[in-house]
């Protein structure tokens, strides 16, 4: 065929590097309302569920059993299941119906019914509903802090800068698993230097992650994955009972936690039972509810390429975020893993969550250059900071990231690098040189850092676990080296774990360690004049307005 010149040009656009597939219901490659999805149903006998979404009790798999046992408020089940799904969808969008009224229905329906409700909404209606249904009134976002060399000084400096930029939660992981305790310590010390009150996590294998928390190196956990089919759940090396128990283990140590799920994971792992992504995600959300876990990270997450490839997939992703919120669960709403080569689609990916505001719009935003993001890249990274802040300023939306001045970033990065240098010295870890401190202060990526002896670092990471180092040792090291304010912040975090306020739904801390959650900051949106409005949050709005590169027309030099 003789090529048409415009089509040839279009094919060279970045969007053509993205994957797109046609629907295939039997393999689960369908966003929602798949042809094999069950019809909503419930049967109750003597206070026990004997049929759930068309399946009889004797045919229940472990997920059905778990949801039937713990996942629904049976007192309202009959009333809610007899309410037309379209009516519940209307309530979600209608500003006159309060969040708490809707929760009575949505926590008493079945997964298939929840799917049916969400499927009634278009993308714009979902944004309106998310604005009302997110548990915490004040929106926020979360970031990743990683680099491909697991360089601890750069982790601390990036964490401090990200804290200054307003991220209340920060997540690290490792390029090499054995670095885990060192990364966990570096992100904690760095973030507390940047702004007291930030909470941090280190995403590694389930039981290792818990043991880092037990030592006080982390404050929360998030990558506790649940899945929508029994086979994939088992392949993920857990059951609903083991995951529910793990949730209680975290709470028993005063650690916040949320589960993780998301469209596409069952497709990726090969066992969808021919069900749509939204139906399977509904099961994950109900497992979370059943476990009494306060929050969930969902919205495609690390499998975003799969919903992103099918028709209506990004609508489904916002829909699953909304479903999480309507179950009264904290939602860290994805917008994390990179899924598109197109800048236009990258913006599309987060625009719904961004405009509506969620508990954490991104989970997480790459607070390093994407090449250093060891979660396989994020939808947006540090080099998008100024675009992001401009969008917040243009739309008067609090997207959770503040613009900062270069000199403030230099100052805080330097202080964090020195603080982690002090901690390494105090704990007897391989020394951090002044040259490394200087490099981390001015670095943008790990190429800007002097190379460390990684073998020695890994040995030291293992050794610090063997020696039984805990957060008390870190506090002492900071104090002994004159970093009393950082020591105080790390201590305050430890104190909060004794108190448990941040175990409640959607909890974050401000810089004075005041806990802001769905308990004391519940979302009260009910139409214009209510709910969170950026311009009423004057301090934050002033900061967002003050992008350093804006001209002051009253003081211009010509």
């Amino acid at each position: 065929m003789k090529r048409q010149k415009r089509f040839e040009k279009l094919e060279k656009r970045p969007v053509h590097l993205d994957g797109f597939v046609k629907e295939w219901d039997d393999e689960g490659l369908v966003a929602l309302e798949g042809k094999n999805d069950p019809k909503p149903s419930i049967k109750l006998e003597n206070g026990e569920i004997t049929e759930l979404d068309g399946k009889k009790k004797e045919d229940f798999d472990l997920i059905d059993k778990y949801i039937a046992e713990y996942g629904l408020n049976l007192d309202n089940a009959e009333m809610a299941m007899n309410t037309d799904s379209l009516k519940i969808a209307h309530m979600l969008v209608d500003p006159n119906v309060s969040r708490s009224e809707i929760i009575k229905y949505t926590t008493a329906i079945t997964p298939a019914k929840a799917e049916e409700v969400i499927s009634k909404l278009n993308f714009g209606e979902m944004i309106v509903a998310v604005q009302k249904m997110r548990p915490r009134r004040t929106p926020a976002t979360q970031c990743h802090i990683t680099n491909t060399l697991d360089n601890p000084v750069e982790i601390a400096a990036d964490a401090a800068e990200a804290a200054l930029r307003g991220f209340p939660e920060q997540e690290t992981t490792t390029a090499i698993a054995r670095y885990a305790p060192m990364n966990a310590i570096s992100i904690m010390v760095g973030s507390q230097t940047g702004r007291p009150g930030v909470i941090t996590q280190c995403s590694v294998e389930e039981s290792e992650e818990l043991s880092l928390g037990m030592r006080g190196f982390t404050a929360y956990a998030e990558t506790i994955s649940v899945y929508g089919t029994d086979r994939v759940f088992t392949d993920g090396d857990d059951t609903p009972w083991s995951k529910g128990f793990l949730a209680s283990c975290y709470a028993s140590r005063g650690l916040k936690m949320r589960f993780t799920s998301g469209a596409g994971s069952e497709v990726m792992m090969g066992y969808t039972e021919g069900k749509s992504m939204l139906y399977l995600e509904a099961r994950c959300i109900f497992i979370t509810k059943a476990s009494g876990v306060q929050g969930l990270q969902n919205g495609g997450v690390s499998c975003i390429g799969i919903p992103g490839a099918v028709p209506g997939g990004i609508r489904e992703v916002l829909g699953e975020n909304l479903m999480c919120m309507m179950m009264d669960i904290e939602c860290a709403s994805g917008c994390d893993q990179a899924f598109s080569h197109s800048d236009i689609r990258r913006t599309e990916r987060m625009i719904g969550q961004f405009i509506a505001g969620t508990d954490y719009i991104s989970s997480g935003y790459a607070a390093e250059e994407n090449r250093d993001n060891t979660f396989a890249g994020s939808n947006m990274d540090v080099l998008d900071y100024d675009d992001y802040c401009a969008m917040e300023r243009d739309l008067a939306v609090n997207g959770g990231i503040l613009p900062i001045h270069e000199e403030d970033a230099i100052k805080i990065r330097n202080k964090a690098a020195k603080a982690i240098q002090a901690v390494f010295d105090g704990l007897g870890l391989p020394a951090i040189t002044d040259e490394e401190v200087e490099a981390a202060t001015y670095a943008s990526n790990s190429d800007d850092m002097p190379k460390r002896d990684m073998v020695q670092d890994m040995k030291a990471a293992q050794d610090l676990m063997d020696r039984g180092i805990t957060v008390s040792d870190i506090i002492k090291a900071l104090h002994d080296h004159g970093f009393n304010d950082v020591a105080q912040a790390v201590l305050a975090l430890a104190q909060q774990k004794v108190c448990g306020d941040y175990l409640q739904t959607s909890a974050i801390f401000d810089k004075n360690w005041h806990c802001i959650s769905a308990i004391d900051n519940p979302n009260d949106y009910q139409g214009p004049g209510t709910g969170y409005r950026l311009w009423e949050d004057k301090d934050t709005w002033d900061k967002i307005k003050d992008i350093p590169w804006a001209m002051d027309p009253q003081h211009m030099d010509f």
């Binding site: 309060s98 009972w241 709470a251 059943a290 104090h479 201590l491 774990k497 108190c499 448990g500 360690w513």
Partner: protein, 173 residues
């Protein structure tokens, strides 16, 4: 949420709480704190009721100071949440309509008594294909008899039953 809604929720959740504690055998973890139930207005505990929060060794939040950590008066054992505090947070969650969270905190309150290493072993034993039915039942007894953890004991017994039916026991793979 309106005042009325929150009051209704509080009453509802208290009713549910009574039902669930009645069905979950006799709770051995009797609150030492005999005050009335806490609600969302008692939150955050750190600001509203710091006096009610104690460390496992009986220290108050005010004792957790930098000086005390540096001189070793306060150590890792003091930096832990207690069953009583989890119970109070559970009451607050329930008063805000989140009864499932309260149940999670009830299990967690029991687990505070179990050493870290044993807790990690118990979690790993619940993962698929790790344990025989008898092993899970033995752990259930251990939780009940050794750690006074009846709710978690029931959790393991329930898992043993369900893993047998749905083929998740050792050797089923």
């Amino acid at each position: 949420m309106s005042e009325v809604d929150s009051l209704v929720n509080k009453i509802m959740s208290q009713l549910k709480d009574e039902n669930s504690s009645a069905s979950s055998s006799t709770s051995t973890s009797t609150p030492t704190n005999s005050d009335s139930e806490l609600g969302r207005n008692d939150y955050p505990l750190f600001e509203k009721h710091p006096d009610k929060v104690k460390s496992p060794t009986g220290k108050s939040l005010h004792d957790i100071t930098l000086d005390n950590v540096v001189d070793g008066t306060v150590g890792p054992k003091d930096l832990r949440i207690t069953p009583d505090t989890l119970r109070m947070q559970g009451q607050i969650a329930a008063s805000a309509g989140r009864v499932a969270i309260q149940k999670n905190f009830q299990r967690a309150a029991e687990l505070t008594q179990i050493p870290d290493d044993r807790l990690l072993q118990l979690y790993n034993a619940l993962r698929p294909y790790r344990s025989s039915k008898q092993e899970l039942l033995d752990m259930s007894s251990e939780l009940r008899d050794k750690y006074n953890a009846p709710v978690c004991a029931n959790w393991f017994a329930e898992a043993a039953e369900n893993y047998e039916k749905n083929k998740k026991l050792k050797g089923d793979n």
